[in-house]
Amino acid sequence: MLYDRIEPLLAGVSKPARYTGGEVNMVKKELDGIDVRFAFCFPDTYEVGMSHLGMKILYHILNKRENFYCERVFAPWADMEAAMRQNGVPLFSLETFSPVADFDIVGFTLQYEMSYTNVLNMLDLAGIPMTGSERDAANAPFVVCGGPCAFNPEPLADFVDLFMVGDGEEQILELCEHYDAWKKRGGTREEFLLEMANIEGNYVPRFYESAYDENGEFAGVRRLRDDVPARIRKRCIPDLDSADYPDRIIVPFTEIVHDRVMLEVARGCTRGCRFCQAGMLYRPQRERSLDKLLELARKLLGSTGYEEMSLSSLSTGDYSHLPELARKLVQEHGCNKVAISLPSLRIDSVLGETLEQTQQIRKTGLTFAPEAGTQRLRDVINKGVTEQQLRESVHDAFEKGWSAVKLYTMIGLPTETDEDLDGIRGLAQAVLDEYFSVPKEVRQKGLRVSVSASSFVPKPFTPFQWEPQNTIEELERKQKLLREKLHLRSVTFSWHEPHLSFLEAAFARGDRRLCGVLLAAWKRGCRFDGWTEEFKFDAWMAAFADCGLTCEQFAHKRYDLDAPLPWDHIDAGVTKEFLQREWKKALAAQTSPDCRIKCHGCGMKQFIKGVCKSCE
């Protein structure tokens, strides 16, 4: 058993409980009766991966099938990786300590671009060849990927057999069922992949190729054979209540990033913020019913013993029955010392009643995401909130005993000027003013306002997908300016590393040529790029040079509105015409109100019938 070889390494590494599994509600099965073994790989640490809701859902769905066994695999931290390599211990699963190469299917979830080198590194640690043809020759596991980054699969296309685009609940089961049948029936690997390529939501990159024009510009992705679809439609579950949701989840021993029960109240968002990729990818918005959520909450709290629960979705404040849900959850579970937190509150959410409900239990920090400092720029990005709304919300919160407020903002947005940065200071000042306008006896002591500024990254399937990113110099200048402006009492300012955002921009919108860059960067020792202490910017720049490319040519590129885009062969449901319309409105600072109020014809109504309730 592999554990005997892992055990001696553990005393010498940090946080050994990352590598030992055995948690409450971990699924145990006898390998004898298993037809399909699925290694669910999260290309980051245990603490990050275990906090991810999608993994919990798919783990549950696969393991409900008696003859499928889904196990978890995480990226070992540098110290553990070194120990494993030194002692010849391959990448292993936490459920049975099996080598990942022994599985039938190895699946990665792609949550952010900066985890791609970890995908390569994990394949290498597993001893699985990196390319499809090598894997075919070695009869190695199939490598599949899903998650939001699968909507622009090209930068990983050389290394992956199959991308699964969209909601994964049905798709992952179909994959295992087809695999099971194929394995029993016998046939070539190519036959299996061809079969998969013809199921909705599946992209098999080996059946497609990328073209470039004489100037080296991307010229489109083309089919290599006509028995595969020209465009890949994303999968979409129309009714969340009918989709499986876990009633028990693994309870880690060691603290993870989101260490609580997460109740997914809705998927998708109707707001249409123009920088937000998730808001476009997960359209149309779908909600779970109140009864279903109450039932799930009961079961999950009972099976985990967790003392905290959060309601999760892109915009929890928009959930139709939020006040009622919050009230009932507090009534039912408050006496058992369960804290219910609402993390992604938005400025204009129905705060009042809910705030009063949650404060009975625990006052977690309030977060607001105005994103931009002036009304003009908020109109450009379609963040439909006003300073007045922010003032009212925080005032209300301060009266009810909150004293910590976080403001999320973004710099480098299209059309941004220094005046907009002034506006961010203005918002921070507004929060301070509201706090001091609440009588001393009423407000809580210890005001803390933290302002954070991330750098805008243009993402596929958003109205800003054609826009270039600001240069690093420009982003740094803006950060410095903001830092000076935000020298206010009780206000702290934090910002993102712009070099990282620069790379993220290249990989978010890049084409297949980035596969070579990725491989070169991995060879130069890049991994855990999302972790500041591990990020090796120079190695990345050298990797681009190795391939005769630059990061600028991707990150700073302005695409023509009608130019072919590397993700054009993926159909996310929202149409290009809609995105172009939104882009034009953005430049004119015209807003598109919440599509529960008015449908903007994004294409989802045609894509999937009868789900957009408000526009029918």
């Binding site: 055995g22 021993f253 985990t304 013993g305």
Partner: protein
């Protein structure tokens, strides 16, 4: 209620703080009538006789939990064991008053069983036992100092069966002074991989005879 429990195999790799959370959540899953601390962030009133280093296994840890309602030790054991993961298991329980601080004060020694695969440590053990003074670097939170660990070793023997060494040791473990088995092993055989299992806690009777700590705690009740 005090309970003796084991923390074996994979369970040996999470920390004392993690153990606290794990036990608290287990008690919540089991629906046990436990008492919570007051205030902002309520916690189950739960204490342990002593911490166990990460990486060590144990068959004899002792927890003390404050109850808010009546429950028999048998019922407690059935309900908690039904929800604990493999490797954590309560072996016995008893109702006592305010046990944890009292237990800490009674504790005199801890016993360990050690397995060192592929290494013969018998000569090292013999050599160690022949000495009167063995200095080793003892680290505490703030400082590192050299101490004579030999007097803190109350019993030590080793058997090598051709494949592995099996050691048993009884080491000093009081509030004021304690010798960790890792430190002794490092001194005996630096760099050798060892599996360490804590197998017992002891107190002393008035006549000086050793008695199990759990029994001593029950006697006090």
């Amino acid at each position: 209620m005090i309970a003796e429990f084991e923390k074996m195999g994979r369970m040996s790799w999470f920390s004392h703080l993690d153990l606290q959370n794990t036990m608290q959540r287990a008690m919540r899953r089991a629906g046990l009538p436990v008492r919570y601390s007051q205030g902002f962030n309520p916690h189950v009133n739960l204490a342990f006789a002593t911490a166990l280093s990460v990486g060590l296994q144990s068959r004899c840890e002792i927890l003390d939990v404050e109850l808010a309602g009546e429950i028999s030790p048998e019922e407690f054991l059935t309900r908690i064991n039904a929800v604990l993961p493999e490797g954590l298991k309560c072996s016995r329980a008893a109702l006592v008053e305010d046990a944890a601080p009292a237990l800490m004060a009674l504790m005199t020694e801890a016993e360990y069983a050690v397995e060192a695969p592929g290494a013969d440590l018998s000569a090292a053990v013999e050599g160690f036992l022949a000495l009167e003074e063995v200095m080793a670097e003892k680290k505490s939170k703030s400082k590192t100092r050299m101490v004579n660990i030999r007097p803190m070793v109350h019993a030590l023997d080793c058997a090598f069966d051709g494949e592995k060494s099996v050691l048993t040791m009884i080491l000093e473990q009081t509030n004021a002074n304690c010798l960790k088995p890792e430190l002794l092993l490092q001194t005996l055989a630096p760099g050798v991989f060892c599996r360490i299992v804590r197998t017992g806690f002891y107190a002393r009777k008035q006549d000086g005879a050793r008695v199990g700590l759990f029994e001593a705690g029950m006697d006090k009740a």
